[in-house]
Symmetry: C2
């Protein structure tokens, strides 16, 4: 086009300029640094210092913020199959991952053994039971099949729900210990060639991970709701509600196979319960049986708990106009192993943003609003670094933080995904349309996202498992636009969204889950199978940078309350759908029961509130339109009165859009897990990572507590009316 007809006030668009800055060469160097060794939370201060120094070198005010959570570390572990009567040991699990020639990460002497973060110390013995994925339904099915897991060691495969809930479910039913193994059906040879021949999980590979109950509360187990500062008052560890008390360990499928074979012929053939119970070792002739086994299993998990410092790195670019309003982008830095994808690909993206913002600053750019860049520690244990920081700063955050962007494993495969508050939908689409999809001549990330979305995530961190985990996200599928999922938990957005009420989003390229939390999530794996030329890293840096620049620098924020109101309608629809499954059984069809059933089948109060929200949200969008047409977004027109009116209107619009989320925060929190305060969405109490809509309502329905359900509907409706009222104030 002709420059002469170029609209605008002549200033250089920092977003367009920014796109040219991220470089694959720099991203490679950042990743090489972060993935060069194991960096478990609490024992890797040097990476925090490097990160802080890199921030500072690029002109960003940066500091290390320490907290002192309760963490545990592995001391010794054993899994053995033996004959209790003869005391003969028939099988001793290796509990180690093979060295892969040519992959130095696989032979790092600092590599962690088989370990579950926050797993209980214990040395237990019992008969073995197989419990499929260890979901609520799986435990029910076992019970229905007459298999009692009391005093047993329960063998569960990874996937579908958060690992902490598998242990918790087993513990609830009286089990003594839990072994969680990676079934080849979920992320091993059934998916494709295994590492190092392909990207999928090889037979010795262990998925480490935390077994804390983040759906109760994340962060330090001893200081729920308060920051784990050095001198903070702390719970007795026995009173920490987000810790399991029975020991658990991860297993490879090489180690799981002898255990599964020991079950054959005992209890029920799993395929009689459901074909879903049969895993991928079937192709090697292994039958899946429930047990209990005749043989016994010894599970020893020796861990050391201690209060130990962790380091967040917090960088800050002060805004020039509304400097109190703040946009935060964060990414965890700690990893179980080398963590090339989880989280080092994200750490590389964060550092590249730091470099890019430094370059823009050299050219004179500063955002209108303040930008905070955070490198969190101890996410792997249970979102500890981010949670403690939010708990310490919650008043300021609720007052002034307008958005939180979470990057975790930025690159773990070719397919884009995003989970977000519905307020971000338009912006996400706009931004992904600006970024070319790597290796494609004229496709954008948006196009690729639409045609080939990432299929396998559980909430935040990706996790093996089949699609059932996504059953609750349909509410925000848009037929003609890519799927933006709801936020559950599983990564560092949790405290921002669910505790502080900050509109959050979480994004990345995913789906190659075969080395997740193993020694093989290495630079070698990344550069061989996932992103050899770092183009996916660059695309993520571009997307994240554009999001930050738009949120921090657009005169009128691209946050759309109408999208939010529409999603609330979808949530209500989804809640009604789920409630319908909880309808009192036909044989309970008394008059009273029928009336109750009618009462809760439809959420009329919520629907009315949602209609009010929608119409007031439209007022905000109309005000935006008016501002653009009458004044122009920049409020630079002639005339004092018009400029003042414009700025006043603009500030009001931005506040409506960016603080709407806060109005869905219920100070009382969710029943039984008060740390979670978002009424519309939260991690399912039996899901862990995945999002549940209207959790308090649906838990009442699940529990068939109809009066409670009506009270909770009323309370939620009131919050939605309040939110609608807030939007009306433009």
């Amino acid at each position: 086009g002709q420059v002469a007809s170029n609209p605008g006030n002549g200033h250089i668009d920092p977003a367009r300029l920014f796109l040219s800055i991220p470089s694959t060469g720099h991203l490679r160097k950042h990743l090489e640094y972060y993935a060069s060794g194991t960096h478990v939370a609490g024992i890797n201060r040097t990476q925090a210092e490097h990160t802080r120094d890199y921030f500072a070198e690029h002109g960003i005010d940066a500091k290390i913020v320490e907290y002192y959570p309760w963490l545990n570390y592995p001391v010794g572990q054993r899994v053995a199959l033996f004959n209790e009567s003869t005391q003969r040991v028939l099988f001793e699990a290796g509990l180690k991952e093979d060295v892969v020639p040519g992959d130095p990460s696989s032979e790092d002497p600092n590599n962690l053994p088989a370990f579950h973060g926050y797993s209980a110390d214990g040395n237990v013995t019992g008969k073995l039971v197989y419990a499929n994925y260890g979901t609520v339904d799986d435990f029910k099915a076992l019970k229905a099949a007459g298999v009692n897991i009391k005093d047993k060691i329960v063998l569960i495969r990874y996937g579908n729900v958060l690992r902490g809930l598998k242990v918790y479910g087993a513990e609830l039913h009286g089990a003594r210990g839990v072994l969680i193994y990676s079934d080849p059906a979920d992320d091993g040879y059934a998916r494709g060639k295994v590492y190092p021949a392909g990207p999928w999980r090889p037979d010795s590979s262990l998925e480490r991970g935390s077994v804390s109950l983040i759906q109760i509360y994340p962060g330090d187990p001893l200081t729920p709701g308060h920051p784990a500062t050095k001198d903070a008052p702390r719970l007795d560890p026995r009173d920490a509600k987000n810790l399991n008390t029975i020991p658990s360990l991860p297993l490879s499928y090489r180690d799981a196979e002898p255990l599964l074979r020991a079950l054959v012929g005992f209890g029920k053939n799993a395929s009689d319960i459901s074909e879903d119970w049969v895993g991928g070792l079937a192709s090697k002739g292994v039958q899946y049986w429930t047990g209990p086994s005749a043989l016994s299993v010894n599970l020893m998990n020796r861990v050391e708990f201690k209060t130990t410092p962790i380091q967040n790195v917090i960088g800050r670019i002060k805004g020039w106009e509304d400097s109190e309003r703040t946009v935060i982008i964060g990414n965890h830095r700690d990893a179980w192993c080398a963590g090339a994808s989880d989280p080092s690909s994200g750490s590389a993206v964060l550092l590249e943003l730091v470099r890019a913002f430094g370059e823009l600053a050299k050219l004179g750019w500063r955002p209108r609003r303040t930008v905070v860049l955070a490198s969190w520690d101890a996410e792997e244990y249970g979102l500890v670094g981010s949670t403690e920081w939010v708990e310490e700063n919650v008043d300021w955050i609720r007052a002034d933080v307008i958005s939180y962007i979470n990057v975790d494993a930025a690159v773990m495969g070719p397919d884009f995904y995003a989970s977000a508050s519905p307020i971000f939908k338009d912006l996400l689409y706009e931004v992904t349309k600006q970024v070319p999809y790597p290796g494609s001549a004229n496709q954008t990330v948006y196009d690729a996202w639409l045609s080939h979305p990432a299929s396998e995530l559980v909430g935040g961190e990706p996790s093996p498992g089949n699609g059932s985990a996504h059953k609750y996200t349909s509410g925000i599928i848009n037929g003609r636009a890519p799927l933006v999922r709801s936020l559950g938990s599983g990564s560092d957005f949790t405290a921002f969204m669910a505790h502080a009420g900050v509109s959050s989003l979480h994004l990345g390229f995913g789906t190659m889950l075969g080395t997740y939390h193993s020694n093989y999530d290495s630079l070698k794996w990344m550069t061989t199978f996932v992103d050899p030329d770092f183009e996916l890293h660059r695309a993520m840096a571009r997307i994240c940078g554009l999001l930050v620049i738009h949120l921090a620098d657009d005169p009128v924020l691209g946050l759309n309350p109408v999208s939010y109101a529409k999603s609330v309608g979808d949530y209500i629809h989804e809640a009604e759908r789920q409630m319908a499954r909880q309808t009192p059984a036909r044989n309970d069809s008394t008059r009273a029961a029928t009336s109750k059933s009618n009462a809760f089948r439809k959420l009329h109060r919520l629907r009315a509130a949602q209609r009010q929200l929608m119409s007031n949200a439209r007022l905000v969008e109309q005000s935006k339109h008016r501002l653009r047409v009458v004044y122009g977004e920049d409020c630079q027109m002639a005339g004092r009165r018009r400029r003042m009116n414009c700025r006043k209107l603009r500030k009001s619009i931005n506040d409506r859009a960016s603080k709407l989320e806060r109005h869905f925060i219920d100070p009382e929190g969710l029943p039984g897990r008060e740390w979670y305060k978002h009424t519309l969405v939260g991690p399912g109490r039996w899901l862990g990572y995945d999002a549940q809509v209207f959790p308090a309502l649906l838990e009442a329905a699940e529990d068939h507590k109809w009066n409670q359900l009506r009270q909770r509907e009323k309370r939620a409706a009131e919050l939605i009316y309040d939110a609608a009222w807030f939007l009306r104030e433009v």
Copy 2:
């Protein structure tokens, strides 16, 4: 530094960003295009179209603007030495440049023969006289030596004054024709190795060029003061005052040598006049004698004159704030030969600016003020394209054009030079301090300019000759800062500065003059001896772009009236120094003469006016300071009244600084050459290119017309008082 402490309003500094855009690869491509063949004015429309299309492709509104000047082209030419009595031809000049293997430009079949633009058609014969450089003093010396050049063919070497003046001087004294040759002392083997072994002029090389009298008026000879549009009224060519009427041709020193040898023993040995008369062929045993020769010379110069269209390309980037205020950067496109340095290096720079501004525009940038980019045609004939355009647009230009930047031969050697209105001094220093000097680790162009200034220029275009041409520039030498010369003429700034009163500057890298206006000013020469890696080109693109961006986009213009006032003081000092040399001779020491002498030795009126100018200029600088301290340049402070006051003050300051030059324009013009209207500075009437201070005054002194001198001093003083008054209006 910390981003947090970065001042400013957060916008990206287009100047800093711009610095990263010019690329040596693009500059090389641009130069390869322009230097790929001969492109003489009026016969190369395709390059104009290419230029316009390149502008348009980069988003710049561009058009071709045609004029119809009177131009001439070579038809046939001969120079021969013969014995008039025997009619035997002893020597026939080659008048052609040798083919240099490996340099395709040297064998281009379209190459122009020996030719002087605007030379008169004629076939003349006469005895030969040698007149050294053909200056006023040289002709005087010949006369004093008893050598009469009436009816002679005069052999003159290049250098020191404009070639048109050499012909004019000879014509005044009754000569029949002029041969101008390149003496090896000036730009041949006496300077260093000759092409292709080195950069200096080889023995067959011809310096083409125009012999029009641009110090009378530049541009189309038939339309002085009016645009040469298709239907413009035109002078009879015989009435065109800027054309010589006797024929002339350039000669190589290979062709000049037999002519010089034919003079040996005739007239006076030149070394008896002055050693300055002895050229470089002396080292080959050639004695320089004045003649007249016994042998005769035939000089045939057959040319065809015609009215023919030429093409300026005018691009425009509309400003967003003060869109009527305009900054122009221009460069001529036509060349005598391939013209790799003159002017194609400048054309390459212009195109690279177009590309860079296109890139900035893509990022949203538009300047506050309008930028015009001009590619002039027919500069080589006598600044024709630029002069006609200024003549057509003079009302608008006087009203709104705040600066003109001229680029001609951007790169003709390693040393930086600048000629400019004194108003630009601070800005030139600031900008050259921002640009690294090529091949140097930590030197800027400013540093290199200070330590190693270009020594050989005559006003605009570089020209061979010794240092005497610079005797009038001492007034603006600053002991601790690089030399900024005064503007005379010789390139396309002339109409802007001297006719329209637009503050102008002219700049480049120079001093390797050995192929100037010859076939050897080729890509091969450029990439072998001058700028193999195009780093000098890039430095020029950076300097020019920074100048444009600052002038078009700085809220407060970096033009300093105090620098101007100081220079006016220097001009007065210089004028007094020159006048002292014109003091009536001692033997004329009557009472009246002495009193006259006292009367004009000191320019008291001018000095008083200059003091007023200086003190009012200081008011402008104080206002700038006040604006910065009280408001900030951006006028973005809170409070309606303060913003309004700030903008009003800023506009006033910018007008004072950018329109001061206009006040030195005298509508009546210089005596005898009214097209020239600048009172303070103009091309010397006997210099052509070089600048003369207070030309009207000093011509009166030269002519010993004391009353006229006093009137002219009074008139100049009045203009300076007016200018001072204008500054006071801030």
